[in-house]
């Protein structure tokens, strides 16, 4: 590989990062890493979790998280040889010539200091400006990054701005010293798809403007495709492949890269032959948190949500973070009593509060939580975890229970020898299977899966999905599949339910969902999912960005999406509650005419 004619801004040759434990053993974290980044270009580091992406990126700042040794033949940023700098010289480089954008802005900001004081801190500690000019510079960057009210946002505290905004504030903080190299560590992973697009756009243009070289760390090929010029694929601490974006995306050399590419597009599963009877019916449910006054909770979340699900069917619930997906799950399970509306299991009406439901009713609805780490009691063994529901619901004990446990392990394809282990001794995928097995132990009619694959790597996640899919087909379990990952939900479910700010905006079968007719919010969601196509973001950028003024419906009855809707009809949408329109198994709650719904508003403008 010969260096292009352009200047090489970053050069890494034979980078090894090794952790020497006090016990004397050596753990190699990354080995033999070499790459180079021409000036002004963006290099992406991609790989699954634990492959060493962050470790390499941080090594470029002479920093290692846990005291690992960094050795390299060459570790150069511009004219700086990072590996030759002393501990006292490094701080003068960090934040000044190389800056860092961390994965989770929420935790990377000091919660007790204002945004402004943190953004200008690099300028102040490096003595690059006085406070006043620094603040002016920050405000300019805020507006460049399309932050709302750039003049005053600096006086807010981190928790007072949304996640997407905070991520852009962090970009401002990184760019304020005009560094040569910016390292972005999964800057959009924690964001909703809709927000992700906006952040990607602003970051990309800001990078272009500053002319800085960048290293973009991500596990998401589709995202990387939008911003990177080159891609380095990592696996288990080794460099797997290195090449220009187009090459990696379309003509990868390694199998591993290919497997990554296929995982991005989940394959669609056939519809299940669901029985015609509804096993669960939810009728205009309202719910929320806090003290209940006059039948209304202090923090209302869900309003007027209705749907039903047939035996053996899978219903996907999608929506942005905070839209009330988990709340819906809790309401169905009875953990959070609905304040109004009804929930029927078959023909029987369920009491809102779990305490009032019979044990049999509780058994028939089982919930699987997102984080297997916290959903499994760390002090119980797998056996204890699985036998408890057996004993509780069926009074099963001894050999009978053990036999059933074996059966469950088989069902979830877990090895038999793990029964004595505790959850800390299981891998992430195993944990999630145990979590699932526990729910299956109850022989439920309805299985609620709340983001069961979000915390897993793509390959592992795909396996767990397969499992659930098989189970619902074989056992006829109705599955409610909650996810923020639209493509997965789409591939997996028969029907899809879109929540926005606690309200149902669209409920459609998979075919209808993919059709042209869509609620404007659904359309926004679907369009926001990046595609494996380098031009995708550029195409999006050409369109008018919808405002991101946050959720918060203006009123209880009006359309919750009103403030963000690009096609809102003045005088109608802001005065009347949106009507419920139903056609061919598709429900859309919107003022726009049915035929209007199929017109892409983003393309046409309004």
């Amino acid at each position: 590989m010969t260096a292009p004619a352009k200047d090489i801004a970053v050069e890494v040759r034979d980078l090894d990062i090794v952790l020497n434990t006090p016990g004397g053993s050596r753990k190699v974290i990354v080995e033999d890493i070499s790459f180079a980044v021409p000036k002004g270009e963006v290099l992406a580091l991609i790989g699954e979790s634990g492959s060493g992406k962050t470790t390499i990126a941080l090594a470029l700042m002479g920093y290692s998280r846990f005291g690992a040794d960094i050795t390299a033949n060459c570790l150069r940023v511009g004219d700086l040889h990072i590996d030759r700098l002393s501990q006292s010289e490094l701080p003068t480089v960090r934040g000044r010539r190389i800056s860092y954008i961390a994965q989770s802005a929420a935790s990377a900001f000091n919660p007790s200091r204002t945004i402004m004081s943190q953004v200008i801190e690099p300028l102040l500690v490096h003595g690059l400006a006085d406070r006043k000019t620094a603040e002016e510079k920050a405000v300019a960057l805020f507006s460049a990054l399309a932050l709302p009210s750039p003049e005053t946002i600096g006086s807010r505290y981190p928790h007072q701005v949304s996640g997407g905004q905070l991520q852009r504030v962090m970009a401002a903080m990184a760019l304020i010293t005009e560094p040569e190299l910016v390292i972005l560590d999964e800057p959009t992973t924690a964001l909703d798809v809709t927000t992700q697009v906006e952040v990607l756009k602003t970051i990309k243009s800001a990078l272009k403007q500053s002319g800085a070289t960048a290293i973009y760390v991500s596990h998401d090929l589709a995202v990387v495709a939008q911003v990177a010029d080159r891609i380095v694929v990592l696996k288990d601490g080794h460099l797997c492949e290195d090449g220009a974006v187009g090459k990696i995306l379309h003509d990868p050399d390694s199998d591993y890269t290919r497997s990554l590419l296929t995982a991005v597009q989940p394959q669609q599963r056939p519809d299940a032959e669901a029985a015609p009877d509804n096993v669960l019916t939810v009728g205009s449910v309202d719910a929320g948190y806090g003290r209940i006054k006059a039948g209304k909770p202090a923090i209302p979340v869900l309003r007027d949500v209705s749907f039903s699900i047939r035996r053996g069917a899978a219903l996907g619930v999608i929506g942005e973070s905070g839209s009330g997906k988990s709340t819906l799950a809790r309401v169905i399970a009875g953990l959070l009593p609905a304040t109004s509306g009804e929930i029927r299991l078959g023909d029987t009406l369920l009491a809102p509060a779990m305490a009032r439901r019979t044990r049999e009713q509780l058994r028939r609805v089982q919930i699987v939580f997102q984080h297997a780490d916290t959903a499994l009691n760390p002090s119980h063994s797998v056996e204890e975890i699985l036998t408890r529901p057996l004993a509780f619901y069926y009074g099963m004990k001894g050999a009978e229970a053990r036999a059933r446990v074996d059966e469950l392990l088989d069902l979830t394809r877990l090895p038999k020898d793990i029964v004595k282990r505790r959850s800390s001794e299981l891998s992430g995928g195993q944990k999630q299977r145990v979590n699932l097995a526990r729910a299956l132990a109850a022989n439920p009619d309805v299985l609620i899966c709340d983001e069961v694959t979000s915390a897993l790597d793509t390959v592992v996640a795909a396996a767990v999905l397969d499992l659930i899919d098989n189970l619902r087909r074989d056992l006829g379990i109705a599955t409610i599949f909650i996810s923020h990952d639209i493509s997965t939900a789409r591939a997996f479910c028969d029907d899809l339910l879109v929540l926005y700010a606690g309200r149902l905006v669209e409920l459609a079968s998979r075919d209808r969902f993919a059709s042209e007719t869509q609620h404007p919010y659904t359309r926004l969601l679907v369009e926001s999912v990046p595609e494996l196509d380098t031009g995708w973001l550029a195409r999006k950028s050409a369109l008018a960005p919808p405002s991101l003024s946050g959720q918060g419906a203006s009123s209880d009855t009006l359309c919750p999406f009103l403030s963000r809707c690009p096609v809102a009809i003045g005088g109608v949408c802001d005065t009347l509650p949106p009507p419920r329109q139903e056609q061919a198994g598709q429900i859309v709650i919107c003022h726009r005419e049915w035929n209007q719904l199929s017109i892409d508003p983003l393309r046409t403008g309004s």
Binding site: L58, G95, A108, P122, Q160
Partner: protein, 326 residues
């Protein structure tokens, strides 16, 4: 975070939150008053007996008891006492024939002085030890500090005090062995005479505070925002001072409030050894002479101080946390 706090009423915002804390402190103080009254009622004998001594006849005692109102039912006395306490008048001492307020106002400044200086000394020491330990966590300095502070807590305070006296007063003749507080003493004299009591008390409270500080600071040092600050090139000292401490302040002040409240009632042993005329020994005196008004007032002061300290710590923690302050 929102989930764990969900047991609290949902009206957030700082004023109601602080009002809520003040209210529960007042409620606690009320409970305290009942407990104090009950416990002091457990004591055998009463002031009438103590005043008249051994040679008194039962009739004499009866008369005095009636005069002092000791023969009325406990709950009447409790409510009268409660009313007068709320009105701010703790009544007359049975024994010294002086208003309780006057006796206490004689001793309170001493206790405040000792507690105040000790608080400053021990807080500074504890913060230093805690921060240094946290920064070097796992390192040799940290381990040494850990063992030193541990050994400090592990030694009974009367032994610390006595050893201090033997060394600094009896052998070296540097410091007075008893604290002779004089109103007109200069600051230097006062500090000299308080040096040993302060040292002893500090050794009692500092370890716990230092350990809590270390834990709180170490916890914050592991947060991503600290890494972020380092990657911004912020010097470490600045990170500790401006980033970590403001966030660690909540748990730290809480631990300090708990420890420092010991300086009031818990100073009993130090007051005894150094003959320091503070409130704790006054209260013991009141117990001995069955001087209930004095005893109850002292107890209320101690409990009130504790509650105030915890309240102040709570408020500081709330104010230091913009999430709650918002």
């Amino acid at each position: 975070m929102a989930r764990t706090a969900s047991s609290r009423p949902a009206w957030f915002g700082v004023v109601p939150l602080i009002l809520y804390r003040v209210g529960s402190a007042l409620l606690t103080l009320f409970l305290v008053s009942a407990v104090v009254f009950t416990i002091s009622g457990l004591l055998p004998g009463d002031a009438a007996q103590e005043i008249l001594g051994q040679s008194a006849t039962p009739e004499q005692i009866q008369v005095l008891r009636h005069e002092m109102g000791l023969d009325r039912p406990a709950w009447t006395r409790y409510f009268e006492w409660l009313v007068s306490i709320i009105a701010g008048d703790p009544g007359m001492s049975y024994v010294a024939n002086m208003p309780v307020a006057e006796i206490i106002s004689d001793r309170l400044p001493n206790t405040l002085k000792l507690a105040g200086i000790t608080a400053v000394v021990s807080v500074v020491t504890a913060l230093t030890i805690g921060v240094v330990g946290a920064i070097n966590r796992g390192g040799r300095i940290d381990k040494t500090l850990n063992v030193v502070t541990l050994s400090l807590v592990a030694t009974p305070e009367f032994l610390v005090a006595t050893l201090g006296v033997l060394l600094f007063s009896v052998t070296l003749l540097w410091l007075p062995s008893i604290s002779l507080v004089n109103e007109d003493a200069s600051w230097g004299e006062m500090l000299r005479s308080l040096a040993l009591p302060i040292m002893s008390l500090t050794s009692v409270v500092v370890a716990q505070m230092a350990r809590m500080t270390r834990a709180a600071v170490a916890d914050q040092l592991d947060r991503p925002y600290v890494e972020m600050a380092r990657l911004k090139g912020v010097p470490f000292s600045r990170i500790v001072l401006f980033h970590v401490l403001p966030n660690a302040i909540g748990p730290i002040v809480n631990a300090m409030a708990l420890s420092l409240s010991y300086l009031f009632g818990g100073a009993l042993i130090v007051e005894t050894i150094f003959n320091y005329p503070g409130l704790a020994s006054l209260m013991v005196n009141a117990v001995t002479s069955r001087d209930m008004p004095l005893l109850q007032s002292c107890a209320m002061i101690f409990c009130g101080t504790y509650l105030t300290m915890v309240l102040v710590a709570d408020v500081i923690a709330i104010l230091a946390n913009p999430r709650l302050r918002a």
